[in-house]
């Protein structure tokens, strides 16, 4: 890595600029920041040329406080943090410029060996996906022990590991230290990862989307745990997230990024309550509120119904016990309606969808499509299949990487034996319907963005004019603004085509915005179901209330804890020096 002196582009540096209106006074800002980043620039050097991933980002983190870096995918928020500690992906060459002083030391000019000495000790990191971030072959205890300072005796190390496991609330799990990652739940895995990060007693914790891969109730638990640990240890947190809802509840300061640049920065309370920049407002507005908006129409005829549906998977291995994945599910969906199926991972949501289309063997119960019982969904004829289409969460995996958009959308026509003539016109009409342009025709999946790929999948599902569309977590991998667009598209399709949706999601807010009916699932059973308004406004089951409370807690637009507006006497509590990048 080459370094440019931090005198580069001095015009963008306005150190000492008073903090924005609602922030603390400049005098308090004199409290020494733990990490002071000034005009950080990160350039990725690739074979095809260079890309400026981070273009002039500046912020301060004070000891014991949380700063959130917010932005959509590709906004450079992760790269900002990872470049500071030399954790960029293997094979990526980056050049950094600007300055980043951590406790008085310039981070950007450190050698790799010096950075390594900081990593895991002074600066620890938690990664997004705990299932991937733990070595599958090593027990939880070993992985935590590895992060402890060198030279501890065996007994001493075991004691510290136990203490760390207790600190992250895992002391109640029997034999936790000897368990391997695959024997832990997602929340437990993330707690182990947090214990690993705490092992070196860091003063700064970088949390890169620490809850994105987790269920909503677990998300709240993990974020609360981080807040508690922060208060107990006085460590600072750099929270990287795409979720402004999380920011309100857990961060005191926020930096909003877009395309590598800083859009807006300030105390979280101010930025969320009175955003100054259009992009921040867009991000805030795109986040659906947890409020049921649509009512089921009583007049429409039933299109899809299942009764007493049950699915059993055979257990793993020769002697494995079978697993009941779905038990006694009933629902009826009217034409043009939308059924939201919510639940946490493992609740059987996807199994339900798969059973309906015949991707999972039905043990008991029946599926009715348009009033007629489907004898065996696994052996549906082509005509019946066309009426029932499925869209998957992973749009990249669902598209053949070698087929162009035109071929992908045209494939259903080819399968159903529609003549080649006029196929292009039909594809173009579909592209138009899902909001893609003619120029996308010849593109390959890897040349499209996530939102565009999901639109291609929707267009392909629409090709044979289905009556029911099964959407399995189709917006959960998308950025909020793109998510809002895709939800808008689905709403329009329902209105224009009278399409019925079975919409599977772990995100209650998204379901509330789109669906007329809701079914809440847990352990393969329906805990509660009914009209969306009833379920969300007056939930009957305790589990539904837990889910809604967890979702509301994460979605709070205003801070829960009054940490961002300290009393003047508290002094050091609120001092952040806001440095605004040029161009805003």
């Amino acid at each position: 890595m080459t370094q440019r002196p931090d005198t580069q582009r001095p015009d963008t540096r306005r150190a000492g600029t008073p903090a924005p209106a609602s922030g603390p006074s400049p005098r308090e800002a004199a409290a020494a920041p733990l990490l002071a980043v000034r005009d950080l620039r990160v350039t990725i050097r690739a074979r095809t040329g260079t890309v400026e991933a981070v273009a002039g980002v500046s912020f301060d983190i004070l000891p014991g406080r949380t700063l959130a870096l917010v932005g959509e995918s590709g906004s450079g928020k992760s790269m900002t943090a990872m470049a500071l500690i030399g954790l960029v992906p293997v094979g990526t060459t980056v050049e950094t410029a600007g300055s980043a002083r951590f406790g008085g030391r310039e981070l950007l000019t450190l050698s790799e060996a010096e950075r390594r000495a900081l990593r895991g000790r002074a600066i620890a990191t938690i990664l997004q996906d705990p299932a991937a971030a733990l070595d599958p072959l090593m027990s939880a205890g070993e992985q935590i022990a590895e992060a402890l300072p060198r030279g501890l005796g065996r007994r001493e190390a075991a004691g510290r590991v136990a203490a760390l496991l207790a600190e992250v609330g895992l002391d109640g799990v029997p034999g936790i230290a000897r368990r391997h990652p695959h024997e832990l739940s997602g929340g437990q895995q993330q707690r182990v990862a947090i214990a690993m990060a705490l092992a070196g007693n860091p003063s700064l914790l970088i949390a890169d989307e620490p809850t994105t891969a987790l269920d909503v109730t677990v998300q709240a638990q993990i974020l609360d745990l981080l807040a508690r640990l922060q208060a107990a240890r006085g460590m600072a947190i750099l929270l990287i997230t795409h979720d402004l809802g999380v920011v309100g509840a857990y961060a005191q300061d926020v930096v909003v990024m877009r395309a590598g640049a800083m859009v807006e920065a300030g105390p979280a309370a101010r930025v969320l309550a009175a955003p100054r920049e259009a992009h921040t407002r867009t991000l805030l507005a795109a986040r659906p509120a947890l409020r049921a908006t649509a009512a089921p129409s009583a007049a429409a005829p039933e299109i899809l119904a299942v009764s007493d549906l049950a699915v059993r998977y055979r257990g793993a291995g020769l002697l494995g016990r079978p697993v009941r994945a779905l038990d006694g599910i009933d629902f009826a969906l009217e034409a043009g309606g939308a059924l939201g199926v919510v639940g946490e991972s493992g609740s059987g949501k996807s199994t339900l969808a798969k059973a309906i289309v015949g991707l999972a063997r039905i043990e008991r119960g029946s599926v009715r499509l348009g009033g007629a019982v489907l004898a065996d969904p696994m052996r549906l004829g082509r005509a019946a299949r066309a009426r029932l289409q499925y869209i998957f969460q992973d749009s990249y995996g669902a598209l053949n990487p070698r087929l162009t958009v035109e071929d992908a959308i045209g494939e259903p026509f080819a399968i159903s034996g529609r003549p080649r003539a006029g196929r292009r016109a039909a594809v173009l009409a579909l592209l138009d319907e899902v909001g893609l342009a003619r120029t996308h025709l010849g593109r390959l999946p890897r040349e499209l963005s996530g939102g565009q790929r999901q639109r291609v999948c929707i267009a392909r599902a629409l090709a044979l004019s289905p009556e029911v569309l099964i959407c399995d977590e189709i917006v959960s991998a998308l950025d909020v603004t793109v998510q809002a667009q895709v939800l808008g598209l689905l709403r329009r399709l329902r209105a224009e085509r009278g399409l019925a949706l079975v919409f599977i999601s772990h995100d209650l807010a998204v379901v509330a915005e789109l669906c007329t009916r809701v079914m809440v699932m847990k352990d393969g059973k329906a805990v509660e179901s009914g009209a969306a308004a009833d379920v969300f406004e007056a939930p009957r089951a305790a589990y539904t209330r837990d889910l809604i409370a967890a979702a509301r807690a994460l979605d709070a637009p205003a801070p829960h804890r009054d940490l961002s507006t300290p009393s003047p006497a508290a002094g050091e509590g609120g001092g952040v020096e806001w440095v605004t990048a040029a161009g805003f």
């Binding site: 390594r116 895991g120 990191t125 990664l127 971030a133 590895e146 992060a147 024997e183 690993m196 291995g317």
Partner: protein, 309 residues
């Protein structure tokens, strides 16, 4: 005994039952397939001109080859069940003696080559990961290309020509060291390639990034995280090679004039020496079962996820 060990043993027992069933199937299948090859041992000896027609008939009756296949199978099965492998119709010797004469050579050749090859094949890519400088990476690539492009029999013949015929450094017949080295290099190349590619993929995983975030040294990351994870796949390949080591390397045995199992099998098939071929197949069955068992146990010890099945 804790839950881990119990599941480990249960899994191994299930594997063993399964592979025994497969081996039995192969033995039965090969018994009949062998007899579908035109001509029997008596025909072959007749063609060679050493037997008259009446001698051939008498010999067939003596060997029981004139009976229906199913009767022959019953008799053979009774014999095998009593622990007797039978007698070679061609060499007129007990098959157990024939095997006992060739198996030591085969095992010495195969296992030494596998051992040296595995050591080299694991060592080279590990060193190349630890010190990713040009020279070590180039060495991994050179070994790989060598093992893919240079057939063992051609380099074998070249070695015999240069080392034995021209320089007289080794005997032309019966030398073991040179074929061991040739086979070892072949194994090392295949293994190094797979292991190195795996290790480079694993280097990009999140758990290696997490290990870097912990501030671990390069050596620790490679030896404790990357290598074990890469080995889970490589062990399966080593298992295949182990089965191969038991069966003998025909080309090396022929080129270096080694009296091994490969040579014996070749002669037995050519001479329609049914009993010998069947005995060799039983030996192969056991060899493959043992190799699979060893591989599975090692993989289950390395990878806790495989234990829970």
């Amino acid at each position: 005994m804790n839950a881990h060990t119990r599941r480990l043993l249960l899994g191994i027992a299930a594997d063993l039952v399964r592979s025994l069933a497969v081996a039995a199937g192969i033995v039965v299948f090969s018994f009949f397939v062998l007899r579908m090859i035109p001509g029997d041992v008596v025909d072959i000896r007749g063609i060679e001109g050493s037997l008259t027609y009446s001698q051939q008939t008498a010999m067939r009756a003596e060997l029981g080859l004139d009976k229906p296949w199913i009767t022959q199978f019953g008799e053979w099965l009774t014999m095998i069940a009593s622990g007797d492998l039978g007698t070679s119709a061609r060499f007129a010797k007990p098959i157990a003696d024939l095997l006992a004469a060739v198996i030591p050579t085969t095992l010495t050749l195969g296992l030494s080559a596998l051992l040296i090859g595995t050591l080299l094949g694991v060592l080279l890519p590990t060193l190349a990961m630890l010190w990713p400088r040009r020279l070590l990476v180039a060495l991994v690539e050179a070994t790989t290309i060598w093992s893919i492009t240079v057939p063992t029999f051609s380099i074998g013949i070249l070695c015999v020509l240069v080392l034995a015929v021209w320089l007289g450094l080794i005997p032309a017949i019966g030398n073991l060291v040179v074929p061991i080295l040739i086979l070892a290099l072949d194994t090392a190349g295949t293994l190094a390639k797979i292991l190195y590619e795996d290790m480079k993929d694993i280097e990009r995983t999140e758990y290696v990034r997490a290990a870097r975030a912990k501030g671990l040294s390069r050596a620790r990351i490679v030896l404790r995280h990357i290598l074990p994870n890469a080995l889970t796949a490589a062990v399966a390949l080593i298992g295949l090679l182990l089965a191969g080591a038991f069966t003998g390397a025909i080309t090396m045995e022929v080129v270096f004039g080694l009296p091994g199992l490969g040579t014996l099998t070749l002669q037995a098939i050519k001479g329609r020496d049914y009993a010998v071929v069947q005995a060799v197949i039983i030996w192969l069955g056991f060899a493959v079962i043992i190799a699979n068992l060893v591989t599975d146990v090692i993989r289950k010890i390395i990878d806790p996820r495989l234990r829970s099945a």
